[in-house]
Amino acid sequence: MAYPNDRKYTPEHEWILVEGDEASVGITEYAQEQLGAVVYVDLPEAGDTFDVGDTFGEVESVKSVSELYMPVAGEVQSVNTHLSAAPDIINDDPYEDGWLIRISMSDLSELDSLLDAAAYEASLS
């Protein structure tokens, strides 16, 4: 499985990719593989703010419902609206088209406590 080096990871299988002042958040290849076919995603609204570790949404597959956790604190700038009609994008392309939310981060130092690709991959075995 692939874990791109351009982003950070949480032990709960979210990734966060910093792009300028904002960051996008999604779930990893491992997470989508474990979930199986995703059938529904419940996402927050732009303007909602969360602390690190807060639940910001849910992803539901044919197997189970899993909560989504904030990798860092921040305010939601936008959400991936394509997912409501086509949640399977998360299975097909979890790192690009399957992003969940874009946020503005309130504390950049929180990124330091997240895992890099190698550490995340090691945590899976």
Partner: protein
């Protein structure tokens, strides 16, 4: 074999019986019902026109395609799919029960009230509690009702506003956090140890003045009785919170251990699991709750009370009363009475000694099956289990690309209902087996032998599993498609006159 929907069998003019013309004058519907008597196309029911023999065959075909515990083993973990004795059905159809009207005076339904009173008492006795409410209509409804009772008791202590958190282990049924949220509390997850037990240190660390209750299923969903229970309930009480027992797995300890003796304050009992009433069609179920003396006054009303009138025999009998500080009704009328009759009959048919054998035999069946499988399948937390155990399909997924879903679907080809899959969430590729005490030995052997054959097929012919089931009326269903794009209406392809 595929069966059309009944509308596809319809053709104009086909019918069943044409009654003779009525001698009464026809009713002027418009005059009698005014605007309610809509006659436009939308208001007219499009009923299919089918001959009687076609109707009989249609529904007989459908019933033969159904799979129930009457057709074969149904080891659906955590659901306790035990056989439902037919004497239960006989009793609840007795005219004295079946033809009761809930609005008739209780003085004219004393037999029914007596049965409810005795069931209240029997359930409280079997679970070690002081009082019972029979109202909740299902297990999750019982959870919710008990949480509302906790809230009322906290309010009486002036702590309803400060105690808002309910602690739940990560092995819990999904209904627990749902009930917590519905009751206006916030849920917080307590992790499990590597042995599949509650992490007691994490529980103690989470207990505080903001905690209203701790909910525990014991035995838990990996089939293990948590031996730390007395320490946990003591810690919960010391912190001023209530301990709730999810009775989903009560079958395993029936007649052996009473949750009330373990320090719990409340419990729900799924009559449709432990007490052999039907799971059929999603209901009706019943999820009575039993509580301690301290909480009895808060139970939903009405409950049945026995009146002992010394010297005045006319006043003796049974009556409905509201507990003094009742949270109010949680169900219309008196709950699912027909379900109560079945549970009462089950209890009386087995007696105390028989109920104890239920728990013992359920545990023995699960362990027998577990031991037959443990060499080939990976058993999660492998040890002497209670009424159920969990296998992990992870080694098959890794080695052969065969997933738990494939194994479950292949089991259909062998004539068995699959286990509960992908639950509990803490076990990867989980398969949860609960054979129950009613499964005969030969059936347990056959189930094990089918699973061992499937394990071999996973290695030698994984494609057979990927494309299973092969012998069912319909093949592998598109579950993701059904969830993403549900087709909830039959579309009229031929005109129904």
């Amino acid at each position: 074999m595929s069966e059309p929907v009944i509308y596809d069998l319809s053709a104009p003019g086909k019918g069943v019986v044409t009654p003779p013309a009525s001698p009464l004058p026809p009713l002027d519907v418009q005059a009698a019902f005014g605007s309610y008597a809509e006659t436009d196309e939308r208001a007219r029911p499009h009923l299919p026109q089918v001959s009687e023999v076609e109707i009989m065959r249609h529904y007989t075909h459908l019933s033969a395609m159904n799979f129930g515990v009457d057709s074969g083993a149904y080891p659906l973990g955590s659901c306790t799919m035990k056989y439902n004795p037919r004497i239960n059905e006989d009793a609840c159809r007795l005219p004295g029960f079946a033809e009761l009207h809930p609005a008739q005076p209780p003085t004219s339904a004393q037999g029914a009230l007596r049965l409810m009173y005795e069931l209240q008492t029997d359930l409280a006795t079997a679970s070690g509690f002081a009082a019972t409410s029979l109202q909740p209509a299902a297990g999750a409804h019982g959870e919710y009702t008990a949480l509302m009772v906790f809230r009322a008791a906290l309010a009486a202590r002036g702590e309803a506003k400060t105690r808002t958190v309910v602690l739940i282990p990560d092995t819990a049924h999904g209904t627990n956090p749902a009930s917590v949220t519905m009751a206006g509390f916030t849920s917080k997850t307590i992790p499990s140890t590597e042995e599949g037990l509650v992490d007691v240190q994490a529980l103690k660390a989470a207990l505080g003045p903001d905690v209203a209750a701790f909910m525990l299923t014991n035995p838990n969903t990996v089939g293990i009785f948590d031996p730390q229970i007395l320490e946990m309930t003591a810690a919960v009480h010391e912190a001023g919170a209530y301990a709730y027992c999810d009775g989903a797995n009560f079958n395993a300890i029936l007649g052996v251990v009473r949750p009330g003796d373990l320090g719990f304050d409340a419990l729900h009992i799924n009559l449709h699991k432990t007490f052999s009433t039907p799971h059929g069609g999603g209901g009706p179920g019943a999820g009575p709750i039993c509580v301690t003396e301290e909480l009895a006054d808060f139970l939903p009303g009405p409950v049945v009370e026995r009146v002992l009138a010394e010297g005045n025999t006319a006043a003796a009998g049974y009556r409905f009363v509201n507990p003094p500080r009742s949270i109010g009704r949680v169900r219309s009328w008196y709950g699912n009475f027909g379900v109560m009759v079945r549970a009462w009959v089950y209890i009386r048919a087995l007696g105390a000694a028989g109920l104890r054998k239920v728990g013992q035999q359920a545990v023995l069946s699960a362990n027998y099956l577990r031991v037959l499988l443990e060499g080939v399948f990976e058993v999660a937390y492998n040890r002497i289990c209670m009424h159920e155990f969990v296998l992990s399909g992870a080694p098959f997924a890794k080695a052969y690309g065969v997933h738990t879903l494939d194994i479950a679907k292949r089991l259909l080809d062998f004539g068995f209902h699959p286990p509960t899959i992908y639950f509990p969430l803490i076990v990867e590729e989980a398969m949860m087996f609960e054979p129950t005490e009613t499964e005969p030995l030969a059936s347990l052997d056959a189930l094990a032998s089918a699973l061992l054959s499937i394990a071999q097929e996973a290695e030698t012919n994984p494609e057979l599993l990927h494309s299973a089931p092969h012998s069912t009326p319909v093949r592998r269903l598109d579950e993701a498609g059904a969830a993403r794009d549900p087709q909830l209406r039959w579309t009229n392809t031929t005109e129904v006159a």
